[in-house]
């Protein structure tokens, strides 16, 4: 994803940006506003990343989250905004094989990254096995958390395969297994207010079984 060095630069840019904003709001009207406009305009950034196999080049306000870059700039609205604060998981996407809340990460932090969204997992008529399992087990109702649940589910099975432990993993020295407790724990960042959890577990368990 992001080298520490790049992250440092981003942080410094953000600091400069916020200093400028403070200075501007502290200054009285007319000429200053026009001047500040130019300065703030400097704080857009060109970024290129790959979404669902397709290279995308964007010039974005630095404040744009990856979520809004996907939804508002690329019109990939399968990734949902439920809270915009990292509390619900509806915006979960997969970046370089790991899941992430797209609302909690700025788009400009993802130069060169490989991003997979729900649209990239499968499409009507050519479903990803997890999408098919969600339909079979009715692992959703309103459908708004569903893309996030499915992206999370796909990544969760990879995490367990990669032996990344969770809070409920008993023995850290042995291979983690796909168990209901492991799935429930790892999926708990994805809220479903319709309450399809019991069915979602069945869907993930089935996909895990056919993969094993």
């Amino acid at each position: 994803m992001q080298s520490p060095n790049q992250l440092e630069i981003s942080r410094r840019d953000l600091l400069i940006s916020s200093t400028a904003t403070v200075a501007v709001t502290g200054v009285a009207a007319d000429g200053a506003a026009a001047q500040s406009a130019g300065k703030i305009m400097d704080h857009t950034t060109k970024v290129s990343f790959t979404v669902n196999g397709e290279r995308r080049d964007l010039d974005l306000d630095n404040r744009t989250t990856l979520l809004d870059a996907l939804r508002e700039h690329l019109h990939l609205t399968g990734t949902k905004k439920g809270c915009d604060h990292g509390q619900c998981g509806a915006c979960t996407v997969i970046i370089d094989g790991r899941r992430i809340n797209a609302c909690l990460t700025l788009a400009v932090m993802h130069e060169g990254d490989q991003i997979t969204t729900i649209e990239g997992l499968g499409e009507p008529g050519n479903l990803h096995p997890m999408q098919a399992a969600f339909i079979k087990h009715d692992g959703f109702q309103c459908g708004y958390c569903t893309p996030g649940q499915i992206c999370s589910s796909v990544a969760v099975l990879e995490e367990i395969k990669a032996n990344i432990p969770s809070h409920v993993t008993g023995d850290l020295t042995r291979q983690a297994h796909v168990t209901p407790a492991e799935i429930r724990e790892r999926m708990s960042g994805n809220i479903c207010r319709c309450g399809a959890y019991s069915n979602i577990l069945d869907a993930i368990t089935e996909v895990a079984g056919t993969r094993a």
């Binding site: 649209e119 309103c142 459908g143 569903t146 207010r193 309450g195 019991s198």
Partner: protein, 732 residues
């Protein structure tokens, strides 16, 4: 179609499609991210602007002035519209608090401005630059303190009911209970925030929004904006959950409309998550006193249920006593509701309004009473079952199989393994089981639909009915397929558009039965049109296997349609069957919990619901509604509470981090059983609803299970560990 006599045999009874476990017809769209929700409509030729709302920072008072000069100068800003700019607006019929307009602040986070900019980031940043000078007034925010000043709500709410002589019967009863229970304010927390896109074309307005009730919104938005309803086109084909929170017009639609007018461009507005609990409605808190008197043999002789709740002036009570009027027998009975004026945000419907909090209290009281009588709580409920309206014994229930639900549930759950309070243990876990009855009335609302048959033999259903996750798309397709003898893939369903016939909408668990009954009525019209065109006698005509048949003549539907196609449109209207007969749905919830002996943490181990709710139109989607409701009941029992800051007058935990709803780790495997039942009084579909029934009683079953596990009776929700830890046994 007027439904005024009980249904007899009709084409739905064939059950070739209706009643079958058919997967959601919108499933592929939802699981691949192709279902388009309100904020997501995108025409590449349109340049949308972004509106960001500003909420009031005081709970009550007046806005003296607003300074938007910095906001207007901020980069990218196209317009700022304030509540002072638009002045007083007419309030829609369904809202208690105004959504926007004028200088009065009625509650915290009431919308007072919308800032419109080229981008979301610019609008959000500029919204923070709006400065407001308030004249704050003192408000009332504490229900307990306001109890003494609570008034009798208007008579239409039936605030006081009484039959027999409760006081005398209670005083003379050998076994009595008199306890007070509280339920907190709760928030819907649907996953999709309230969101709208508004686009003006001259004096015509198009709004993509997230609404459970298209026609209510259309009327109220037209009223608020002062435009002709006919000039307003509303669309809401996918809704990311509602639970009652999207029944009534919300501020996002109003702000988008004003913002779009001011900016001269289509504008998108979504309520930021932290604005939602205070800007929108919530389920009001209650204080409930329940008194029950019984003979020594366990028969209830006296039952009283009083409830206090609060709302803004002009609002209504949380009708928490209503189920007590119908659920159990007892000759002497009374209920009373009192309403306190509070300056918290508007209280209004949340899933199973009335029954959900009412049963949270009543079904603990029943458990307590059973214990006083040394009776099994299942048996106590069975003993006090009634097959007639207890206030009016001449009036029977259309169907009532509460006993069947309790008995089957007890058998499947292994209820006979239950032991006395605090006597089962599994390692660090104290184990207990609990039961509660579920009860929710069946409401009948007119519902219309239009059905077209085209020359390809495809039937298209159009109705302004909404699918908030309930499965409307699927059960409506099943209904039309059954009526016309087609497989479900020959039916297309278009919902949530104000150009379509007005439907029941999604609310009060009436949507499934009523909207499909409306589709049934429209299909009857279409069948008649087809028969008439072919010169068939519509009495003996059969629609089967894609053909229409009369005697030895059979014509494929596509051919019957001809090049112009055929259509039928109708609205189901209801006679007085719900007056002559009490129509309700019933169920029983069984729960097993573990309570950590050291920490007091409660975990749900098993859940079973048995439901008797008329014909189940689709066992997959119906089951999902019930398990979802059971999940919400877990939240209500253990976690959910909008914490009131009684000094500053707002809900403090106004986001999904502070207001805790159940997550995956909280929910075990859930079992649901539907009783095999049809109710010919309910509609031609013979169905009722399950979406709210599934929630009713769940929280009390959990509370009762916690009591069984620990011996600690908690009467104040949510049952958090601090309410248990002092009473737990000592651990070494």
């Amino acid at each position: 179609m007027q439904f005024d006599t009980p249904a007899t045999t009709n084409p739905i009874d064939r059950l070739k499609v209706v009643g079958q476990p058919i997967h959601r017809i919108d499933g592929e769209r939802k699981t691949t991210g192709r279902a388009i929700y309100a904020y997501e409509w995108n025409d590449p030729n349109v340049s949308y602007a972004y509106g960001y709302p500003v909420g009031a920072a005081i709970p009550k008072g007046r806005i003296k002035s607003m300074d938007v000069s910095d906001a207007k100068k901020a980069l990218g800003v196209l317009a700022v519209v304030t509540t002072l700019d638009v002045g007083d607006l007419k309030k829609g019929d369904f809202n208690t608090a105004k959504l926007f307009g004028g200088d009065q602040v009625q509650h915290y986070h009431q919308a007072i401005a919308v800032v419109v900019a080229e981008t979301f980031e610019q609008a959000r940043a500029a919204a923070a630059l709006v400065r407001v000078d308030y004249a704050e007034e003192k408000g009332a925010f504490d229900l307990e303190k306001a109890m003494d000043t609570a008034a009798k709500p208007e008579e239409s709410q039936e605030p006081d009911t009484a039959v027999g002589d409760f006081d005398a019967a209670f005083t003379s009863a050998p076994v009595t209970l008199d306890e007070t229970y509280t339920t907190p304010d709760q928030s819907h927390c649907m996953m999709e925030p309230h969101a709208s896109i508004a686009a003006w074309n001259g004096d015509e307005l198009t709004v993509w929004t997230s609404s459970q009730m298209i026609d209510w919104w259309r009327s109220d938005l037209a009223t608020t904006l002062g435009i002709d309803k006919e000039k307003l086109h509303l669309m809401s084909p996918f809704i990311g959950g509602g639970f009652g929170g999207k029944l009534f017009l919300r501020a996002d639609a109003v702000l988008a409309a004003f913002g779009a007018k001011a900016a001269g461009r289509p504008v998108k507005v979504a309520l930021p998550r932290p604005l939602m609990p205070n800007n929108t409605t919530h389920r009001p808190a209650t204080i409930q006193r329940i008194r029950i008197g019984a003979d020594r043999d366990g028969r209830i002789t006296a039952i009283a249920h009083q409830s206090w709740s609060g709302d803004l002036p002009g609002g209504g009570p949380e009708t928490a006593v209503n189920q007590t009027r119908l659920l159990y027998a007892g000759v002497n009975r009374m209920t009373a509701m009192r309403l306190a004026a509070l300056d918290l945000p508007e209280g209004n419907a949340m899933r199973a309004p009335g029954e959900a909090p009412g049963l949270m209290a009543l079904e603990i009281a029943i458990d307590e009473m059973a214990e006083k009588l040394a009776m099994d709580p299942v048996q106590f409920r069975i003993l006090n079952d009634t097959q007639v309206d207890p206030e009016n014994p001449e009036r029977p229930f259309s169907q009532r199989n509460l006993i069947g639900c309790l008995e089957l549930g007890a058998e499947r759950f292994g209820w006979n393994q239950r032991r006395g309070p605090g006597s089962r243990r599994d390692g660090n876990w104290l184990i207990g089981v609990g039961v509660a009855a579920a009860f929710r009335n069946n409401l009948l609302v007119p519902s219309g639909a239009r059905v077209r048959l085209d020359r390809e033999g495809i039937v298209t259903v159009e109705t302004d009915m909404t699918d908030i996750g309930t499965g409307s798309y699927t059960i409506i397709a099943q209904t039309a397929a059954e009526m016309l003898g087609l497989p479900i893939d020959k039916v297309a369903v278009r919902l949530g558009d104000s150009r379509f016939p007005v439907s029941a909408g999604s609310g009060g668990q009436f949507g499934g039965n009523c909207s499909t009954a409306g589709v049934y009525a429209a299909c009857v019209k279409l069948r008649e049109a087809i028969a008439q065109k072919l010169g068939f006698n519509s009495e003996d005509v059969v629609f089967e296997n894609g053909q229409v048949r009369s005697g030895n003549r059979a014509v494929p539907l596509a051919e019957a349609a001809g090049s112009d196609g055929l259509a039928g449109e109708d609205t189901i209207q209801w006679g007085d069957l719900s007056k002559t007969h009490q129509q309700s749905t019933f169920g029983a919830h069984f729960v097993e919990v573990g309570v950590d002996v050291a920490t007091g943490e409660t975990r749900i181990r098993r859940m079973l619901a048995v439901c008797a709710a008329g014909r189940i139109l689709n066992p997959i989607t119906a089951r999902s509604q019930v398990i979802g409701a059971m999940t919400m009941g877990v939240g209500g029992a253990l976690y959910e509470e909008l914490a009131v800051d009684t000094r500053s007058g707002f809900f403090v935990n106004h986001d999904l981090a502070g207001y805790e709803v159940p997550v995956h780790a909280d929910i075990p495997h859930q079992e649901v059983i539907f009783m095999n039942e049809t109710d010919p009084m309910s509609s031609p579909m013979k169905a009722k609803g399950v979406g709210e029934l599934g929630l009713c009683g769940v929280s009390a079953a959990i509370a009762n299970a916690i009591y069984n596990a620990t011996g600690i009776r908690v009467r104040h929700y949510p049952i958090t560990l601090d309410k248990l830890i002092g009473g737990l046994p000592d651990v070494a």
